[in-house]
């Protein structure tokens, strides 16, 4: 059923729409009351979070020596509860650094834990007191970073981390380990990762993994930004329709990181077709249809290679106009719009 065209929205309404969120936020901030310095009675905790209402060592004791460390937490989700008037979660220094009482008696580095320096299960246990691990989230229970025993602190920094407490949420950070990918984004064609318009996390996710490469939903990943190629088409190109199967679909022809060729193609445009389709003899005959095949590339005529609305051999409906000849390629007795030659 054809969709009805949208009504034209008045300009004033459109403008006001853009002011809606900032006004809402301002309202929200003003309505959240500054409570007494105790845990709000409306604390809503994830069951994974332990509400240690009584910390074995108060924060101000730690801050006597380690002053200003609370400031490194001030813009993060691990802000010390002692700095918030109505905390929803009780977090103190000793929530992560265990051994506080002993450390006060004898302040050395040996009797206090630093999660950033722990490895393997010990590091894992510190964070999973409160957080579900990636491996436990909706990602099939498999997490390649967990398998490699990479410490949470290998990617996250509690003191001073950025978005999602990542050390760096830009591609540069992932390149520290995935060094081979850095160069790919400087080839002839690439996704604009270096420019910041796309990040590694645009396609790869640490949760919601359903495939080997931590990209969510396989080919749906591509169609999220490139919906025009997404289909469905009345006439599908089988190379692109191997939905939900690794290594097929978009990746049959494109290298999503970068390529020596245009359009992120693994091979130059026409050659990518030749991987699977030998050129029919008649296409390149110098005397065939006035030698059209010697002057045009595959995609000139077959431009519906992602899928076609009009032809099962993906002939362009504007072909005659495009290549400027007098023949009507779509004539049904030849390359019919809905059939092969000669039917």
């Amino acid at each position: 059923m054809r969709k009805m065209p949208m009504k034209k929205i008045p300009r004033l309404v459109r403008t006001l729409k853009h002011l809606l969120l900032p006004v809402f936020l301002l309202f929200l901030f003003s309505r959240v009351q500054a409570a007494e310095p105790e845990v709000s009675s409306r604390v809503l905790l994830k069951p994974a979070v332990e509400n240690t209402a009584a910390l074995e060592v108060e924060d101000d004791v730690c801050l006597e020596c380690h002053d200003d460390f609370d400031r490194t937490l001030s813009g993060t989700t691990h802000r010390l509860a002692s700095t918030i008037k109505s905390p929803s979660v009780i977090i103190g220094c000793v929530s992560c650094h265990s051994g506080g009482p002993n450390h006060i008696e004898d302040p050395t580095t040996e009797n206090i834990t630093n999660p950033a320096g722990l490895v393997g299960k010990e590091a894992f246990r510190t964070c999973t007191k409160c957080h579900m691990a990636h491996v436990e989230m909706d990602n099939l229970g498999f997490d390649v970073h967990f398998d490699q025993q990479i410490n949470c602190a290998g990617c996250h920094s509690v003191h001073g981390g950025g978005k999602s407490l990542l050390l760096d949420d830009r591609a540069e950070f992932c390149f520290r380990c995935h060094v081979e990918r850095r160069s790919k984004f400087s080839l002839r064609s690439n996704h604009p990762v270096q420019q910041g318009n796309v990040t590694c996390l645009s396609c790869h996710r640490m949760t919601k993994r359903q495939d080997y490469n931590v990209a969510y939903d396989l080919d749906r990943t591509c169609q999220g930004c490139h919906p025009e190629q997404g289909g469905p088409f009345p006439f599908e190109h089988e190379a692109t329709t191997a939905y939900d199967v690794e290594g097929a679909g978009c990746m049959a022809c494109h290298d999503p990181h970068g390529s020596e060729n245009d359009h992120l193609l693994q091979l130059p445009a026409e050659r990518v077709c030749l991987q699977c389709h030998p050129i029919p003899a008649g296409h390149r005959a110098p005397n065939g249809h006035g030698g059209i095949g010697t002057q045009h590339t595959c995609q000139t005529c077959h431009d519906g290679h992602h899928g076609s609305y009009t032809s099962d051999i993906f002939i362009s409906p504007d072909l005659t106009e495009q290549i400027g000849i007098g023949l009507d390629c779509s004539a049904t007795q030849c390359h019919g719009l809905t059939g092969r030659r000669g039917n």
Partner: protein, 530 residues
Amino acid sequence: MKRNSVLSCTALIVSIGLAAVTPAISGEGSGKMKIGYVIVDEEGDRGVNQETFNAYEGAALSLAGFRYGLKNGILIDADLNNITLNNRNLRASASKPGLFGVSLTNNQYRRTYGSDGSDFTRRRATGATAYVLPASGLKLFGGYSTTEKHGEKFGAASAIGTLFSDTSVVGTDYVNNSLNFGAQAFSRKANLRLEYRRSDFDDKTGFDRDREGKSFLLNLYSTVPSADWLSVSGGFRVRKDEYLADTTELKTNLFWAGTKANLARYYTLEYRIMTAATSHTSDTSDNDNMINTLTLTRRFPGWGGLRVGYESRVADDGVDKTGASGILLSGWFNYERKLFLKGRATLRDEEVKDGLPYLGNEEFNRYLLSARYVGNGWGDVSVRWDNRTRKFDVNNSSAYVATADYDAVTSELNLQDDQYGRAVFVHSYYLGKFDYHDDRFEFSDHLFTGTLYPKEYKDIELSLGGTYYRSRRDVDIEKFAVNVGASYRFLEDHYLEVKYNAYNFDDFLAPDRYYTGNIVEVNISKDLSL
């Protein structure tokens, strides 16, 4: 739309400012406000140099790395880049841990075509997500996004490297709206997630290409009660896409399940199955796929691990059927967290079981080796080799065998010194050989990247970097970029920043496709300390 985006960002900044001065809820935070001007000077074909497609000239206002924590526990963060230019990249969020979170994004990108850049497409992606935790162990979430693209572009036949390049212009104008919402219930040992997604593609070019898609997803993970060593996970996704002009529909049902058993000390056995059934109105694109994977891992705590695995696949479209089997071998090792070694081999053979599929028997192998050494305070060095080979029968005939062989070697050197600063040097070598019935294609690439970050000296901070790329054999491309930056600090928290970027691109097989560009950016910025 540009004016409204600027208005929206300004209103957001003002509202944050007002919150900051309201005593009852004010807090503390930091960030950097930047205002400056970008000058772009270009010559040659604007459609060949990827790095400068989205460069605009004009006044630029940015708010970078803004983090603010209100006394009531709400956190605000924002990265608003180039608010006043058409290449703006905006992100802002507000959240209170354990209660709610909301985030907004807006990203604009231009891709230029043609020698003078007069043909281009502009993409604008705007989105919002939100979540709330109304009760213990329950999370509700949702989001909405719009992707718009309009302009004129060259078609696929314009791609460089084709035998004959056609540069006919194709118009594009569409809006794709996506909506998702769902719920997640979780406990210490289990997690259940339900989600509904919908997308509407509205083609505004006048052609009848409108589409809509809907999907429903369910994911579940849990350890087995009273058997913590055993966990199970699984889920399914039902998806339907419809082409609105006729009855064309594409449906995919995807199901997966897995189990992981932590066996005797340090051994883990994992099994996973994934099946996908796709059906199309025309019946010609129906296919069923199934993948089974079994792996056994042995960990050596503190040292590394070894893994072996077996995989089997079946693909059946009702007429043709193929089956594949593969093995996986991998290992990783670290010595005193200073030397890291990793290796992996994946081998897969696919055979035609029934029918005459277009691609016949196929062999696919992948090998990977990497090593990294972390020095005592001077940095680290790493090298990585990646090889992929593929061999398959074209037209299901062993008389026409195509091969693809790809090697990539990358080495990286990171140097750091407390006195002098930091430097990064990367070299990558790519070698590709493709051999198919009617033709061959080969490329050999060298790519060098280097960046220096000297230590700040007398309130001046410098950065210097460059990239050189050379691709030979069946392509002949040379590309380089140089970037120089300087920042002078004055009045303690103010900076005068100047950045210069130079770009050059040459395709020696198509001499007209060259590009030279110089981009200068001058900014005054101030550290915010609230």
